[in-house]
């Protein structure tokens, strides 16, 4: 079953007076339970594609559907609700709300979903345990290392069992050992809890973890390998 369907998506930016073709017609299906990497050099369109899949941005043409619901015609409020319930995000850095502790950051999503406090707290702690942060619940982001912060971000992204987690270069700000550790953990979540991940990277080491490797060049899919 395809949890994400991307059809003929195009996106153009105007930079000064020049038109930049960020996506030139991308079509892509991601299966439930997948662990896919978007690979490509800087400027190839990875972030643009992930933002569009996540409903943060809208394509100029083409269509995206997550878990069967198409984005076209959705209002900003609909998109927000969609992101809340079906999509998890991990960004390259500064993912967390600085004034909230690790556990509060993870809880926040469930708070927005209207879950009650006891359940929220318990699930948040469980997920933090899963990503290897037991005992660090009450640390603020500033008191955590970069790798730990990204783990909190992953925990927050997966805590409400979304259809898909989108991670845009999650390891780019980490040293390779920490980065590999993060990917190991993500893969474990994928295998144990069947969380679907799409992550972007331009690092060959990171690509090795993927079970599917989608190569992007100049806003187009250049290669798509299922390993």
């Amino acid at each position: 079953m395809n949890i994400v369907q991307v059809k003929e998506v195009k996106k153009t930016y105007i930079q000064g007076k020049v038109e930049v073709y960020a996506l030139r017609g991308v079509s892509l299906d991601i299966k439930k339970g997948g662990f896919a990497a978007l690979a490509g050099p800087s400027g190839s369109g990875k972030t643009t594609l992930l933002n569009i899949i996540g409903g943060l941005d809208l394509p100029d043409s083409g269509d995206v559907a997550v878990d069967g619901s198409s984005f076209s015609g959705m209002s900003q409020a609909d998109l927000a609700k969609m992101r809340l319930n079906k999509i998890g995000f991990v960004f390259q850095a500064y993912n967390l709300i600085p004034v909230l502790s690790a556990v509060e950051n993870v809880e926040f999503v469930m708070l927005l979903q209207g879950l009650d406090k006891v359940e929220r707290r318990q699930r948040a702690k469980d997920v933090l345990d899963d990503v290897g942060l037991e005992g660090k619940y009450d640390r603020r982001p500033a008191e955590l290392s970069g790798g730990q912060q990204q783990r909190v971000a992953v925990a927050r992204a997966i805590v409400s069992n979304p259809s898909i987690v989108l991670a845009d270069e999650p390891t780019a700000n980490l040293d390779s050992k920490t980065g590999n550790g993060l990917l190991e953990m993500m893969k474990e979540m994928n295998e144990k809890k069947s969380v679907t991940f799409i992550f972007s990277t331009h690092d060959d080491m990171v690509m090795d973890y993927a079970r599917r490797l989608v190569q992007i060049r100049d806003g187009e899919i250049a290669d798509d390998i299922v390993k």
Binding site: T47, N51, G54, L56, D57, Q76, A77, A80, K81, R83, L84, N85, G88, F89, F91, Y94, N95, L96, I97, P98, V99, L100, E104, E107, F108, V109, L111, L112, Q113, R156
Partner: protein
Amino acid sequence: MPIDITMAWRNIWRNPRRTLLTVAAIGFASTALVFMLSFQFGVYDTMINSSVNIHAGHLQIQAKGYKEKMAMRYAVADPVRMGNLLNGIDDVKSYTYRAEGFSMLSSSDRTYGVLVTGIDPDKEKQVSTIKSLVRKGEYLSSSNAYEALVGSLLAANLKVGIGDEITILGQAKDGSVAASVVTVKGIFTSGIDEFDRSTVQIPLKTFQEVYSMDGAVHRVVVVCKSLKSVSMVKAALAEDISGIDEKYELKVFDWMEIMPGLLQSIQMDLISGFIMYIILVIVVAFSILNTFLMAVFERTREFGVLMAIGAEPGRIMKLLLIESITMTSIGIFLGMALGSVFSLYFQKHGIDFTGASEIMNQMGISGLMYPKLTLLSLFTGPMAVLFITSVAALYPALKVKSLRPVEAISYN
């Protein structure tokens, strides 16, 4: 505690210095507003009281037309009847009768045209403070002697002292010539120059005889138990006298109508005060606007993350508004507390205005002045600050509302 409030509180203290400065600005403005308004109200009370107490009273009954033309014939024919009415009104503290006539006043050296006033010494001293302001000689003793109480500046102008004679020459109520000679019994200084330059008082009986008043007076001057009861007494009195059939219809005037100049100078002062206050409030508004715009710029990425995980902009806006309201409230609360403390302190101990300017003296401002903390002076300024800072905080909050998630997330 709800997470929004926890977040707001922690966010407020993310940049303690900026927060403290903003709170201090709001607090300072509120303190200043409470104190300055209390001070103004205190000064107005003093101004009103000193004018009321020296001469004008809170209310006056006059024949219709007298206030405008001040002609002898517009008189209250039966003052005793008025006195009986006034005895029956609870909030009336005291009252007196006066009759007046423009006359030539001559000493052996000089001649001046002034308004001669006939007063009932016994009643007058319950209404007016002049008795206590006599600096030389004595207050008028009986109501039918040929003696005069003279303002110090007028005495100087006429070059008269205690025991000197003054010749009065005017026109009586019946149109005949009114002429008499009185002896200077006392000289007073009220501190209000205009009054000290133009006042000469003689006993009422003497006046009525000299000016052929036939028992009539021009003003029945009433002092109420407090400034607050004035409008009530006025209404009661107006009703009481409406049925009385005298030659000239009788009217009641309050101090604002009797001394329009006083009311005007209070209004002028209030307006110039308000202009200053508005400037102060606007400065504070800009300071909070700056604080929140900075916060929004600095935290745009964070808002982007919040939106990415599914928070709607309205939620973020609410968060920002809680932050601004919390900050503003702390400042306003501190300001009201400090402003009250200052006002109450000086309300007890007074602020020394001895040696204040001539103009202030003329308005009755001299010596110790006392602020007067009222609900109005406590709340007006701070509520204006609250209102304007809320409006100022709304702008950055609305900016967040129109923020697009991608723009926010890629903002740096």
